[in-house]
Symmetry: C2
C-alpha cells in the first residue's frame, strides 16, 4: 500500500478510506499483511482524487460516477446525465419552479434553437434559476445574453462529444465523459474571465496613466453566515 501511495501521490489514510467506502477495489492479497496493486488501482485512485479535489464531488457522487464508468451496459448518453447530476451546484428538483419566467425563457430559447431536452436535465433548473435572479434584481437586460450563451454551450458540447468519440475504447470513453463534464465547467469559467478582460478593453479602454488596483481587499476564503 505504501508503494501505491507513492505511485499515486495519495496518502495511505486516504487510500484506506477509499477502500472502506468502496471507491477502490481491494488489492490481491499476497500474504496476510501484503496486497498487490496494479496500474488500474493507480489510475482509479487518480480519478477518485480528481473527482473529489477538482470536481468537488461528494463520496456518494464519486461512487455513482464510478458505477457509470464500470457499467459496460450503460448507454453513453446516460453517462453524461449521471456525471452531471453528481456535480455539486446543481439545483434540487423541488427548487425548479416550472412556472417561473426563467423556465419560460429557457424553454423558448431551446425551442428557438430546435433543441429537444428532457425535463429531468439538471441544466434546465440551473439556467432558469439564473434568469429568475436577473429578473428579481431588475437586470432583465442580462436575459438578452441567453442566445449567445446557448450558442457557446453548443460549441463546447460539440467539442466534448468529439473528445469522447475519439477515445480508444468504451471504458476510456466513459472516463472522458465524466472528467470532461466535471472539469469542463472550470475550464470554461477560466477562459471566460480572460475573454471578459479582452472584451472590456475593447468596450471600455482604461484611461492612459491609470494605475490598476494591485490586489483585491478581501479574503474569498472567509466564511459566510
Amino acid at each position: 500500500m505504501s508503494e501505491l501511495s507513492e505511485r499515486s501521490g495519495v496518502a495511505v489514510p486516504s487510500i484506506k478510506f477509499y477502500l472502506r467506502e468502496g471507491l477502490l477495489a481491494s488489492g490481491e492479497h499476497t500474504s496476510p499483511n501484503q496486497a498487490s496493486y496494479s496500474d488500474e488501482h493507480v489510475q482509479r485512485l487518480r480519478l477518485v482524487r480528481a473527482l473529489i479535489d477538482v470536481g468537488g464531488l461528494s463520496v456518494s457522487g464519486v461512487r455513482a460516477v464510478l458505477a457509470a464508468v464500470d457499467d459496460t451496459e450503460l448507454p453513453l448518453d446516460w453517462a453524461f446525465g449521471l456525471a452531471q447530476r453528481a456535480i455539486p451546484g446543481g439545483v434540487p428538483e423541488q427548487e425548479a419552479h416550472a412556472g417561473s419566467r426563467g423556465h419560460a425563457e429557457v424553454q423558448q430559447a431551446l425551442e428557438h434553437a430546435g433543441w429537444q431536452i428532457s425535463a429531468a436535465n439538471p441544466g434546465r433548473a440551473m439556467a432558469a434559476r439564473v434568469i429568475d435572479t436577473y429578473e428579481r434584481l431588475g437586470h432583465e437586460r442580462l436575459i438578452d445574453t441567453l442566445p449567445a450563451y446557448l450558442r457557446a454551450a453548443e460549441l463546447v458540447a460539440e467539442a466534448d462529444l468529439a473528445a469522447v468519440a475519439d477515445a480508444p475504447e468504451r471504458a476510456a470513453m466513459v472516463e472522458t465523459v465524466v472528467i470532461g463534464t466535471v472539469l469542463g465547467d472550470s475550464l470554461l469559467a477560466g477562459l471566460r474571465r480572460m475573454a471578459q478582460e479582452r472584451a472590456s478593453d475593447d468596450y471600455f479602454p482604461t484611461p492612459p496613466g491609470a494605475v490598476p488596483p494591485t490586489e483585491l481587499e478581501c479574503d474569498p476564503e472567509e466564511g459566510t453566515p
Copy 2:
C-alpha cells in the same frame, strides 16, 4: 426594519447582520427605535442576497464587490477583475505553476487567438489547472477541446459586455458587470448540460426500447472527508 424585511424578502436577523458587517447602509433614524429605509436599501439588500445565495460569495467578497459598485472612479474593465476575484472557486496565486503544461497550453491558445491577457487574470490559473489535471489523468485528448472552449468564451464575453454597455448609467453598468460575472458561470454550466444531452443523442443514440435510469443513486449533499 420589519417593513424592509417584508419588501425585500430577507429576514430581520440577516438584515441586522448585513448592517453590522457594513454591507448595507443604516436607514435614516426617524425616532430612537425607528429608521426609514428607501428603495435603494431594498435593491441593495436583494443584490447582497443574490451575491451570497446564488453567487456563493463570502461576506468579504460581497464587501469588495459593493465597493466596486459604489466607486464611481473605478474604470469599468477593472470592475470585471474585482468581480472575478470575489467569486469562489478561483485558484490562489501560489497554486499557479507557471511552468506547467497547462500554463503553456493556455498561453499558446491565447497567442493563437491573438489575445493579450494580464498575468494576474484569475482565469489563467483556473484553465491551466484543468489542463494539468487532464494530463495527469491520462486524458490528453480533452486538451484538444481548448480552441472550441476559447471561441465559446469569446461569444459569451461579447454578450456580457454588450449587456453592460446597454445599461442606462454607470452604477447600473457596474451592477450588471458584477451580477453577470457571478451568475453567468451557472447559466453557461446549465446550458452546457442541455447541449451535452443534445449532442450525445447525435453521437451515441440510445438503443430503442432502453429504459433510462430514473434517478441517480447518490446524495450530492453528503459530505466529503
